[in-house]
Every structure is written in C-alpha cells, then in structure tokens.
Symmetry: C2
Subunit: 509 residues, 2 copies
C-alpha cells in the first residue's frame, strides 16, 4: 500500500523528521499519529513520523517540515510516494526499557542511531529518558550506551600524550577550578583537550568563564592543532560533534529537570572517549545543595565511574570535593574569570587554590608526571613558579584572546548592590541554589559581567550591618530582580551560638 502525494513544504523546523498527512489519506494508508512512513522521491528516500491534520494540507498532499524538505531536496509540487512502515526497532526497545527489562547492545545502538538521525519524536525521546531515570540501567547497558554515543559522533585523534582530562559533575556555584587546574596540568607535561559545557541551570559553565578570556568555539581540526602545539585547550563541547546523541538527550533532560545517573555516566564517558582521553579524573562535589548530597551516594557513583572506566579501558579516578557552598568568592562569568586569573598569579581565595591544586596533583600522578603522593607538591611548584600562569596565557593566545589580560581589565557589571547582615551571628549555611538564583536573576550567564561576590563564607562571624555579598548587574532592572530574589529567599543562614531553645513550658498560657 502506498500513495503518491504532492509535496507542500512547511516552513518550520520540528527537530525531527516529520510529515503531515490529511486525515483521510492517513486512513487510506492505515497510519495514525506517530506512525512511521517511508517517503521516496526518484533521487532519495527517508523515514518520517506522521502527524495528522484536517486543514494544513489537503487530500493528495504531504506537508514536509524543514528537516525533511532539506534532506530530500523537496520543493512544492514534487511527487513523492508515501508508504507505511512498522514501528522502528528503537521504539520497541524504549518500550522494553519502560517495562523495566534490560536492553541488548543492538537495541541501544538502534535507539542512539535513531536519536542522532532525527528519527525519534519528542514523545519517544522523553519516554526513553524517563525510562532510564525510573528503571535505571545495568553496567553492561551503560557500556553499550557509551560506545554507541561515541560511534555516532566524531573523534579527536591526538598525536601527543599522555591525554589526561578532568570533569566535574557540577552543582556548585563559582566552580571555576578548571581554569586553574588545566593550565597547571598542561604546564606539568600533560595533554588536556578539555571540552566543557555552557551553563544550563547554573550561573556560569566552564565554557562561559573561559569565553570571557578567549574564543571557545572551534572545529575539531582547530582543537587538534592547538592541543598538539600548546598542550591543552578549554573549549565549548557544543561546537564539535563529539557524541552528538548526548546533546539531544540533555535537551530533554533539561526540559524535564531530571538527570538519570546512568545517562550521566554514559554522557561523560562518551565525550571523554571521543576526545581520546587515557586518564580521567572525575570531580564529585558533595554536600548539602550540591548534586550529590551524601558521601555514601558519592562513593557509590565513584565506583560506577571507575567500573565503567575499566570496561572502556580508560583509567578513572574520582575526587570527592566539598560542594556544600560556592567555590571561592566569585559567581558569574567575568567575576569568575577574574578570580581564576588571580589564583594563577598566586592570589585568590584559599578554597579555589586548594581545589585546583588537589585535582591537578591527581592528574599529574595519573599521567606519570609526578610520583604517587607527590602530585599536589608538583602542582604547587608549577603554580608558584608562574609556569601555570604562563601556560594559561599561551592557551588564551592560542584561542584568540589577549595573553596579557589582567583581572581588572575584565569588565564587570556597574549596577551594584551590597547586602548586609541582618543580625549578629555566625554564617552557618550558604544555600547553593539561592546563590545561583541571585546571580541568574542579575543576568548571568548571558550577561557576562553579572553575578555576585561573597565577602564571607561558612563559619565566619559577622556583625549586624556587615557586608555579606555584592551583586553585579549590567542593567538596573536585573539588579532589582536579583534583590527581589534575595528578599524572597535569603542565601545565608546567620545564627547565634544558641541555635535552639527548648522548654517544657506549655506553648499557650
């Protein structure tokens, strides 16, 4: 059964291969919303999902959305034959996962390939992500998922090594450590092709912070050239097609605000495998308000990362770091870039320097550039001597930035407001999510100069009226919005020494 229909191009992107059929033609073909058809023209052929309409297209017409029109080179009035197809194997596999069954490597391959080739509808991709989240995946399945995500993308093939990388699962405001850790590691002789992400729900991703100092969008060839010449880069992973299935899945995860652990493991490892990484350090910030709240949960996730690494022949080590409050004092792209430059020059806050050195030390040990137990010392020497800063400036230059840039050159928002302590006491808690919400309300990450700077952190004693933090914005209205967030949910808890008063007096007299 097939119909020959006249093409009516619809000037709209849908994100997947979609065609519109008139209800009556669909009846004749025996297809329904979400079913698949094969479209064939004399020169090409493609599988598309069906949507029905009573008015957008008439009988005898097929509406082709941009993805389909482009790939098949169709224009109005072209004749194509449309024939029904059984549901894709991938859709059956997604159903199997919804039922809680294990998938074979082949089934996972079908799903990943269909995602990359725009063959799955948003309804189906969503079902896969939710099934992953609620049913989980075995280690075998995660291995297959990782390998298939690598398989369906491009790869970076470097001519130098050892290739060592670091990846933080995030969740901590102000987490600019990579801008200090990576140059230390590269200065120590490691090859670090660091691809990073832009902020999605945070105030600044590593790529956003680096972009204040240099370009971050490069082709795979350019990245290869820079890494082989300079030893490292810090670029935006979204500009290259390493494990592209991951980017599509992340879009759905973001809409649903879930992050299935099995998908996270596979995503991280797929990107790193595609980069050709031999040794990988995973940073798991742990603490209240971070992605991982308890050490036990972090240790279990660490075991999964190491096990996955063993199966994929990537040596993985994991660092649990303190993630219960922001790292350093600056939150927001330009403010964080300033702080990173200060740390590279030997200054900056202790927590940033401490984390950057610890992680760089592990990387140097993993890559064989420092004896076991001596990595931190080696990292400190590379920082203290100025070699790390020098390497960072070399990287900035290679990525098209100004190698002579000083922290104070970086423009930050000139609309500012300082928030003071409402009472005497100790800062017993900083709420990560609230800090992020303030910085985002102020305009971060899109507004590069927006964000906030903390004057105090956890454990500090403050007096009433003492400055707690300063908000930076580039527009007055954004500053006001940030202040509204502060008054709705104050980002710090300040308590006296007596935390609670208990009594057995009756509450009412």
């Amino acid at each position: 059964m097939a119909l020959t229909l006249s093409v009516k191009p619809i000037e709209m992107e849908s994100g997947y291969n979609l065609v519109l059929l008139h209800e009556r033609d669909a009846e004749e073909l025996g297809v329904y919303v979400g079913d698949r058809v094969r479209l064939s023209s004399p020169s090409s052929s493609l599988v598309a999902a069906v949507n029905l309409t009573g008015e957008m297209v008439g009988r005898g017409e097929v509406g082709t959305l941009l993805e389909v029109s482009r790939r098949m080179g169709l224009k109005a009035g072209d004749r194509v034959t449309v024939s029904p197809l059984p549901p894709p194997v991938s859709v059956e596999a997604i159903r199997k996962k919804m039922e809680g069954k294990r998938l074979t490597g082949e089934e996972i391959g079908e799903i990943v390939r269909d995602i990359v080739q725009n063959n799955l509808t948003p309804t189906e991709i969503s079902a896969f992500v939710v099934a992953e989240y609620t049913r989980g995946m075995s280690m075998e399945e995660i291995v297959s998922l990782t390998l298939q995500m690598v398989e369906t993308g491009e790869r970076l093939r470097l001519e130098r090594g050892p290739v060592v990388d670091v990846h933080s699962i995030g969740g901590v405001p102000g987490n600019k450590y990579a801008l200090v850790t990576v140059p230390i590691a590269v200065a120590g002789g490691l090859t670090v092709p660091k691809t990073s992400s832009r902020a999605i729900t945070s105030a600044a991703g590593t790529a956003d912070v680096m972009e204040v100092l240099a370009n971050v969008s490069f082709s795979l060839g350019e990245i290869k050239e820079i890494v082989e010449r300079v030893g490292g880069v810090i670029v935006w992973g979204g500009s290259v097609s390493l494990a592209p299935a991951d980017d599509l899945l992340i879009r759905t995860e973001r809409v649903l605000r879930i992050d299935p652990p099995c998908q996270m493991l596979a995503s991280v490892m797929a990107k790193k495998l595609a980069e050709g990484v031999e040794h990988l350090l995973i940073d798991l910030p742990t603490g209240p308000g971070a992605k991982v709240r308890e050490a036990e949960e972090a240790r279990s996730l660490a075991q999964d990362f190491m096990e996955l690494g063993r199966r994929l022949r990537v040596r993985v080590e994991v660092a649990l770091t303190y993630g219960g409050q922001p790292l350093g004092r600056a939150v927001g792209p330009a403010l964080e870039a300033r702080e990173a430059l200060e740390a590279l020059a030997g200054g900056g806050p202790n927590s940033l320097r401490e984390k950057a050195l610890s992680l760089a030390g592990v990387m140097l040990e993993m890559g064989g550039r420092a004896p076991l137990g001596r990595g931190r010392e080696a990292a400190w020497e590379l920082l203290r001597s100025g070699k790390a800063e020098e390497k960072m400036r070399e990287m900035i230059e290679a990525q098209g930035g100004d190698p002579k840039v000083k922290p104070e050159d970086l423009p930050v928002g000139d609309k500012r407001a300082t928030v003071e302590a409402p009472s005497d006491g100790y800062v017993t808690h900083l709420y990560n999510e609230r800090i992020t919400a303030i910085a985002c309300a102020a305009g971060a990450p899109r507004s590069r100069g927006a964000g906030l700077r903390l004057f105090v952190k956890r454990g500090h004693k403050v007096n009433r009226g003492e400055k707690l933090f300063e908000i930076y914005a580039e527009h007055e209205s954004k500053l006001e919005e940030a202040l509204k967030v502060v008054s709705r949910s104050f980002p710090m808890r300040i308590e006296g020494m007596m935390l609670e008063r208990l009594s057995d007096r009756p509450r009412e007299w």
Copy 2:
C-alpha cells in the same frame, strides 16, 4: 524583564501553545527551549512554551503557531509583550511523580487542567504517562485523577434511570457483545448511555461496528434526547467532550504502546462518571493473548475497579470473561455487525450469545430489573421474545440508521480467500494478536467490509484441507497483504493427540 515583539504567524498546528523566539531574544529574556513565557496583547494573554530558532523568525519577532494565533486573535505585525514565567506547577508535579512520590489532589488537578488547556509539551505529557506506567499511583491519586478528568469536561445529565453501563477493557478480537447486551438491558428497563471507542490497535471498536448500522457521532444534547426517548444509545465517545484529558493522554499511550493501569482505571471511571452512570459493569476478558493474561491479575484489577467505584459512589461489579480466543466467529466492522444482528434474532454463535446474556443479566440485577441470580434468565427472555431486537432497531432508527436492516444487507468485502488446515489435528490455540493482524492487513477497521470469519475455534477437530477461516477485503492488494501475514504467522495451532515426544537418545548420532 519583558520584550515587545512583532508577531509572525506560523501556519502550523503543534497540538499545544507554542511560540518561536530568535536565539538572541531568548538569551535576553533568559529563556530556553521548553521554558514558558506569557504573551500579552492589549486584548488577551496566554502562556506558551518556547522553542528557539536561528532562522524561522528574526530578532524582534515572535513566531506564533496556530493554537496561539487563534486563541489570541493575532495577525502578522501585531505587537505583543513576551515575559518569562517560572515552570508550571504541573511540570514540577510530573517531576515528583517521576521520582516516585505521591501527588496531591491539587497537583493532579494542575496536570489535568494543563493537559486540557494545551499547556504541556509532548515531552512533558510523555514524561507523565511513562511516570504513571513505571511508578504507578495510589488509590487516592487515581480518585483525584478521575475527578479532575471529569471536572475538566462536559457532563451528561439524564432525567431518567437507573443509569447502568457496561465497559470492556478489550483485547479480544470480534468483541461485538455490546451490540447485543445493550439492547437487552435497555429492553429490560435500564437507561444505557453507552459511549464507546473506535479501534486503535484492534480490527473493530464498538463504535466502528455500530457505525455500520447507524450514525455514532452526536452532540451531548442529541445523546441526551435519544437516551431519554429510547432508553439507550451506542455512540462514539470521541464526538463529545466527556473527560477530554483522557483523549489526549490516550494519544500518547498509543504512540508509546503502553497502557498504565492507573490511567486506565481513571479513564474508564471518568468517562462513566461524566455520563452520570450509577451502576457499572466492567468486563475483563482474561486469557492468553488478551490484555489480562492470568485470572489472578484480573482479580486484582477487579478489586481496584470496585474500590475506585466505592470511593466515587458508583456501584461497580466486574465480570471475568474468557478472552483467550476471538468472541464469536466474525472479526471486522461489517462482519461483526452482521453477527450481532443474527444474535439479536436468536441465532449467531454460542460464545457471543452466552457472553451477551451473562453481562446483560448482571446489568439487569444491578439496576434492580431482575432479582439477584435471575438476571441471565430475564436477559434470555428479553432476547428470545424479540424485545431486545426490537429495541436495537429502535436505537438504530433513533441514530439515523435503517431500522429494517437485515444481516445480509450489510456489504462485506468481495475479495476473499479461504485458508485450509495444513494437517489433521485439533485446534489447540487461536492467537488473538495474529487474528487481529490479519484483519487489519485486510483493511479493517477503516475498510468496513474487511475482516475474517472463522469456521473453527479452539478444541475443534480438523482434517487436512478443511476450511479454517475466510478473509474478506475490499481491495485485491489488501487481500494479498493479509495472506502474507497468514503465511508469516499462522493464527492457529493444530496438533495431534501426541503433543510432544521426549526421549533420552542423544540428539546427534
């Protein structure tokens, strides 16, 4: 923060409230794919989900899809303000269900209202359905879901009673029992406003079979008029807006090919509550190849239906019926309508008469029109006396059909093929899914005259070459397709008395 943008109408339906923003404008607003914005014009306002584009609309423009343009009455060049909104409460509630938590009645209300008002994206509706499927729902949640689905739709308010209905959860080919049961019940003095569905994955829904005899699409007012005059109808539920959330959820369930039990319970009860049903008989066909395979599973589902009924003040009884092979001998709209007319005239196959009488008997007892234990007898008297057939013809006339129609008047496909027994033996099994697949390949349900007729059923002894079944189609190509399905997966198992031969001889010599 808000932008005033120029409207660019996009001539495309998306199924929900969707607008397109240029990437840079979205950045300025701080919104991303799937986020919500409020659109305001001087005369109206609406919440829509955002999609991004670099080319479909320019900076300063907002692309409005048909749902949005229509509801706000927008045309090209109109100015609207666009401001970001936090995620809808319903999306947070869906996330809570994904995490396996229980939802409050209020949260379920938000979800159902947002579904009906086109406020949820396909990604979000899919997440809800999969979360229902994988996490399940408590009885309290199902009660809320049912009530909210009723609340968001229209209601049938009948001036006569007792209102008694029957609903089969389906899964059995040839399940035309309602065309016999309902007229018996109405002839016995019950009020039966039977709304039914069209086939989705089967070869004929009750509405498809009834449509061979009369119209099935009526407004709520027309249904009320007919029921109050004649006592009953058999109509298509999709033509009225009883529990419309259900129709939207079913669309997603169909695409994903899952049927979450909690959603099924709520859907059935919501439709029946909206019809004003006081007594409801649920038919659970049970057996291999049916929706429910084991009696134990059926009993558990029955308990859920009765419990839900108690909480909603609808008296529910449940009948477990044999669902391991087709009901009667005909499968496909016209063939089934013929068989139903024959049964009403006192003929037709035993299994159909037996099921129709049993269910009608329970309905008569539930509605107080027969003493307990005497319902089947009363039903038989109504059938034998011709009163049921007379009532059916009255219903057919009220629904615009020919009250004098005879079985042989109904046109069936003239392209036919008979399939014969490949060997001597007993018919030990009929495969429901394969029978359905053959009838659908032949063109059912769209092709009204397509389907098949069985000459033998389970337990029959057949000789090689004896006729097993006949396929009916309206097009030669469809008949060929049906025969292909037969040869790929033969729908019957025919075995000798010796079913297996076991031996301890080595398999290879």
